[in-house]
Assembly symmetry: C2
Homo-oligomer: 199 residues x 2
């Protein structure tokens, strides 16, 4: 499907029909998420993939729409990573292995110091969350492109998710994305007219 | 182009060849951005489209890569909108016009109160910035799908942009996106292996 058609057809699916997505589709989607852009290429995200029905039922009360959570095939829990030193180190290692010239490496290192290594935990969480939403964009468009549905959800209890899923302290669950096959057709897309979003 | 191919081919283009994009392409891209998802469908973004060479030259020193800024055909300046009362009002008006049932309207109104209307300006800026990064995802993937290139840029001086572009106080420039035709081929994509981004 051409990307403009993906964008037109994608919709926030509030109820799924309970069918299970093939693992191959999940793998393809994770690859599209993995390739998402991020500032300084730091990829500051960790994703927990939930497919176990008991776990979905356990998480459901910590979400704003328990029925969506339990009827979804899979749930992606996107966490913002604040362990910047590790991310910078890994990104630089990857550049060394790829033979990136030293001058560029030095510049990237300086930018990392100026833009992320100097941040406190709350600022790191915010910075990483911005990047997570780029990855989320690939998830929701990717799902539609691969023939299924999704719904980005920020209405959930992050600290409940942390407790249930045993999420380490340096990671922050910031958005979840139930996946599956929609149980209802999409409603018409409501958007502001173009002139309203231009400055 | 199929979406997975878009994702594989898209890259952060650091230098453009100076050619101007046809207005029709910009219009198509803006439509893909307009249709981006956002929490509560609040669409809390305003976009300034810059194409004037003199304005690009004026903005260039306020960006981390002046050459990218001046060689780009257009620059999208994404602003996070913090005027939530207006956004909620417009979103609700759109739902009324579309005949959305009153029960759903009431629920959405409650969610708006719980999730955004209660936030202070800094929190609103952060909340809206998350959504802006979803729109940005459509911009960078959309550009590649439409046959041109882009680069999401957070290394710029927002307050300089505010001054030069006369951005109102309730809007915050949070990311810019130069657009054009890349002057160099893409470098190989460097990403962490899948196991490193799974929790």
């Amino acid at each position: 499907m051409e990307f403009p058609e993906v964008v037109r057809q994608r919709y926030a699916t509030k109820r799924f029909d309970g069918r299970t997505l093939p693992q191959g589709k999940i793998d393809e989607l994770l690859e599209l998420i993995r390739l998402a852009p991020s500032a300084l290429n730091l990829q500051p995200w960790k994703i927990k993939v939930i497919s176990d029905p008991e776990m979905k039922a356990t998480l459901a009360p910590a979400t704003g729409n328990p029925e969506m959570t339990t009827t979804a095939s899979h749930i992606l829990v996107f966490c913002a990573d604040t362990e910047m030193e590790t991310l910078v180190g890994k990104t630089m290692d990857g550049m060394v292995k790829a033979g990136v010239p030293g001058q560029i490496m030095t510049h990237v290192r300086e930018l990392c110091e100026q833009m992320v290594l100097c941040l406190d935990t709350q600022q790191r969480k915010e910075w990483s969350t911005h990047q997570v939403f780029l990855a989320l964009g690939n998830a929701v468009n990717g799902a539609k492109a691969l023939g299924f549905d999704s719904c980005p959800v920020t209405e959930f209890k992050p600290e409940e998710f942390r407790r249930i899923l045993n999420v380490p302290a340096h990671l922050f669950p910031v958005v979840i994305c139930p996946l599956g096959y929609g149980a209802q057709p999409a409603n018409p897309k409501l958007r502001f007219p173009l002139e309203d979003i231009l400055l």
